[in-house]
């Protein structure tokens, strides 16, 4: 904790008002007081179980959920698992009835599909004073097609998606030694520079460490990384879920876009230079994260959530951050896009068969209040930033965390989202069967050397996905949904600014 400095030293202090100070004090109150008596809650049925992907938000949830449990007299069980595990744990748990009360959905799982499969229940009636509670949220936190379906709220948002999910984090000393001390939040690496930096870091270490590392056993990371590199190269593609790799101007998947090819070629080039940490294919992100702090590798493409973890666990580790690399100097200022304001991977969803749904709702109510958000922002920092922007101004943040948040404000833009334009597309998502190999698997296969010919492989994956989407649309149509491929195309999108509600109206 001691390494955190007050962001108040920056201009943010000036924005802090007495009201927020009051809130900050409230957040420090005993939890039972903060909660009131919780009247009207039914007696607890077993324990309140919470499953998420861990990380910095997990630190917060674990601490405050435990306090909540003590205040309310209910046993709580927090389970933080890597994404790779969540992907199998949750479907298994749903099937045999052992799934937790509330959870993150597996990456790539469209919420609409989970709803139509009967996994989830809405939270509207479980949160006290729901309408006023919802009103306090910033605009765009509750979006039909994202976390609201058929007018009912299913996903509980508490963090913002506006963050640099695939930034470059690096060992500052190694980077300096390699001659790239000018790389920072304002100046990213070009692809050529990145390759060179990786080579030099490997060379300088005399074989003890490597230029680049990736948690490559975790398949989706390959897709995320390639997509970020493609976006930086100017491909106007979606970043997650079904929309990953879809050119949102045309509505067609574009894995074979030149920018994708160039990005994947960069990864392959670093690998053939032998500047990639050996064993990258068998480790998951948390392992890669640890190897970085041990000096085994110099650079990683990862999210802001690394910052508070490193600062807390290895306070002496000297590292820097910059946006992900871009193909050339001309493209250094290209933005990257996220699909909506509320972060949907962190969103909590309520099990349709939850034993303690009302307690979950009660906790959401607190976490979705200014008070809860402030307590949250203090712990979550820049990792999974609180969705109430005002709380960030008062939270105690480190210098790097502030840099990261500013970087996101400057370069991360909200893309148009077809599911918002036409919520009926959820029926398409439900009918959609993703072909194998998907984008992530194709990139992993190319990297492992199991697949060759980047352009052809990506084209094949792209074509297969386009075809699968067409089939899903046809199926949804035949079931009566009013959908078409045109719903996915936003020809008039100005990609350098956020795509907001008024833009949907215009389209």
């Amino acid at each position: 904790m001691s390494n955190r400095i007050y962001a108040g030293l920056s201009r943010r202090t000036l924005l802090g008002s007495a009201a927020y100070l009051g809130l900050a004090m409230a957040a420090g109150r005993a939890f039972s007081q903060a909660f009131g008596d919780g009247g009207g809650l039914p007696p607890a049925d077993g324990s309140l179980r919470w499953l998420d992907s861990g990380g910095q938000k997990g630190v917060f949830i674990k601490e405050y959920l435990t306090k909540y449990g003590e205040a309310r007299g209910i046993e709580v069980v927090y389970d933080g698992l890597p994404w790779k595990e969540i992907a199998s744990v949750l479907p298994l748990g749903i099937r045999n009835g052992s799934a937790p009360d509330t959870f993150n959905l597996p990456i790539g799982m469209e919420p609409s599909v989970a709803i139509s499969e009967g996994w989830l229940q809405p939270i509207d009636d479980l949160i006290p004073d729901f309408d006023n509670w919802k009103k306090a949220y910033p605009n765009g936190s509750f979006v039909e097609g994202i976390n609201v379906f058929g007018g009912k709220t299913y996903g509980f948002p508490f963090s913002t998606e506006r963050r640099f999910n695939n930034a470059l984090l690096f060992n500052q000393d190694m980077m300096n030694e390699a001659g790239y001390d000018h790389i920072n939040a304002d100046r990213a690496l070009t692809f050529d520079e990145m390759r060179e930096a990786a080579r030099k870091i490997t060379e300088n270490s005399g074989g003890r460490s490597f230029g680049f590392i990736i948690g490559g056993a975790q398949e989706p990371r390959w897709g995320n990384t390639a997509t970020m590199l493609a976006q930086r190269g100017g491909a106007t593609v979606g970043s997650s879920g079904l929309l990953e790799g879809m050119d949102l101007k045309t509505g067609e998947f574009a894995f074979d876009h030149d920018a994708y090819v160039a990005g994947v070629e960069l990864l392959l080039a670093m690998n053939s230079d032998r500047s990639v940490f050996p064993g990258s294919l068998t480790i998951i992100a948390p392992q890669a994260r640890e190897f970085i702090t041990q000096g085994a590798a110099g650079m990683i493409i990862q999210g802001p959530w690394n910052i508070p973890i490193w600062e807390e666990k290895t306070p002496n580790f000297n590292f820097g951050v910059s946006p992900g690399p871009a193909p050339d100097e001309a493209s250094l200022d290209n933005p990257v896009w996220v699909m909506q304001l509320p972060n949907s991977t962190n969103m909590m969803w309520l099990n349709a068969k939850a034993n303690n749904a009302q307690y979950a709702g009660d906790f959401f109510h607190w976490l979705g209040s200014l008070e809860g958000q402030l307590a949250y922002a203090n712990v979550a920092s820049c990792a999974d930033p609180a969705i109430f922007p005002e709380t960030i101004k008062l939270a105690q943040l480190s210098e790097r965390a502030v840099t990261m948040l500013q970087m996101a404000e400057k370069r991360v833009r909200i893309a148009p989202n077809p599911f918002v334009r036409n919520p009926e597309l959820s029926k398409v998502a439900a009918a959609y069967v993703d072909p194998t190999p998907n984008l992530a698997q194709a990139v992993q296969g190319l990297f492992a050397g199991q697949l060759t010919d980047v352009k052809a492989t990506l084209k094949k994956a792209s074509d297969a996905r386009n075809k699968a989407l067409d089939e899903a649309i046809a199926k949804a149509k035949s079931d009566g949904a009013n959908v078409s491929r045109d719903d996915f195309a936003f020809a008039a999108w100005e990609e350098t600014r956020d795509f907001g509600p008024e833009d949907y109206a215009k389209q």
Binding site: K84, A87, S88, P91, L92, I94, R95, P106, I107, G108, M109, V113, E117, G118, W119, G216, A217, E219, P220, G223, G241, L242, E244, R274, F277, P278, G279, S280, L281, T282, F291, A296, V433, D434, T436, P437, N438, A440, Q441, Q444, G445, A448, G449, Q450, L451
Partner: protein, 322 residues
């Protein structure tokens, strides 16, 4: 009179009546069978039948949305390159591990069978240790031991100048499956060793006495007398080991989970992935996975029948020889 009457009655009894009578007479036998049959029926027989039924469904396994699709899953499966690849890998794995494990186990058994060898119990126990260590533990140890970054095995290879660059044992698609085969043999040879030792117990001790002082004679006795004597056991042990080698799921799931890029995805991992842990954005497909299970199960059965015929042949030949 009474006797005659009884005979007449029994003649009149129809076949079904007699069967019913015999069943009634055996009621206690059936009662004894109940617990075993319940377990057998619920966890072996029913799952086999159900697999056939599931394999005709398009079903995510959640809720009641199953859709009957007939043979569509099988048709799709026959065009699925990942299914074929997994199928091939399962058999390659079996062909690599079973002979190695059996030969290694046999050599160790012959050496350890020497009653005069002190410490043989200790050695046997040491070889057996990996057998009793849970796979999850083995996986952790092996991932660490084989790590290309400062792992002890790579450290040794590099120091001895046997390689000039750390070998990524579990991360190179070309060698990962064979690394797993090696780990598998290491873990299970202990049990094969015990099987062979049991087989060797059937060889009369006097046979060794004759050859006691002479190396050449010992070798001849082993080659010409002992090995032929324990040959029938080889079939049984081979069968047990082959079936075990198809149950390699725990080791692979706990280490590579079938990766990198499917290079260690054997049949069970394929089924698990399709049924329970699909890639991001994909949906579990219980029906499809069941169809894969049925196809693979059938091929195992065919294989087993061949082996059973082999067992019978050896047994018959043995009987003729005697």
């Amino acid at each position: 009179m009474a006797v005659n009457h009884e005979v007449a009655a029994s003649v009149k009894l129809t076949r079904t009546d007699r069967l019913a009578a015999r069943i009634w007479k055996s009621r206690l036998d059936y009662a004894f069978l109940i617990p075993g049959l319940l377990v057998f029926g619920a966890f072996i027989f029913w799952p086999m039948i159900a697999s056939f039924y599931y394999s005709a469904l398009n079903w995510t396994g959640f809720g009641e949305n199953a859709e009957f699709v007939g043979l569509a899953n099988y048709r799709e499966l026959l065009q699925d390159e990942f299914f074929y690849a997994a199928f091939r890998r399962s058999f390659a794995f079996m062909l690599a591990t079973v002979p190695l494990q059996m030969i290694l186990g046999l050599i160790l058994a012959i050496v350890l069978n020497n009653k005069l060898l002190r410490l043989s119990t200790l050695f046997r126990a040491m070889i057996f240790l990996p057998v009793v260590s849970p796979v999850a533990v083995i996986a952790i140890v092996m991932v660490l031991m084989l790590s290309p970054f400062n792992g002890p095995i790579n450290g040794f290879l590099l120091d001895a100048h046997l390689v000039d660059r750390a070998v990524d044992f579990l991360g190179s698609p070309q060698i990962a499956l064979w690394t797993l085969a090696g780990i598998f043999v290491w873990k299970w040879t202990g049990i094969t060793l015990i099987y062979w030792l049991a087989a060797l117990q059937t060889v009369p001790a006097e046979l060794y006495e004759a050859a006691k002082l002479d190396d050449v004679k010992t070798r001849q006795v082993i080659w010409h007398i002992v090995l032929p004597m324990i040959a029938p056991f080889a079939v049984v042990i081979g069968l047990i080991s082959a079936i075990a080698a198809l149950n390699v799921f725990p080791l692979i799931q706990a280490t590579t989970q079938g990766g990198p890029f499917f290079s260690t995805e054997v049949m069970e991992v394929y089924i698990f992935r399709t049924a329970f842990a699909p890639a991001s954005g994909q949906f579990p497909r219980l029906g499809y996975a069941s169809a894969a299970g049925v196809l693979f199960g059938l091929s195992i059965m065919v294989l087993t029948i061949f082996q059973a015929i082999a067992v019978r042949r050896t047994r018959r030949k043995e009987a003729e020889d005697v």
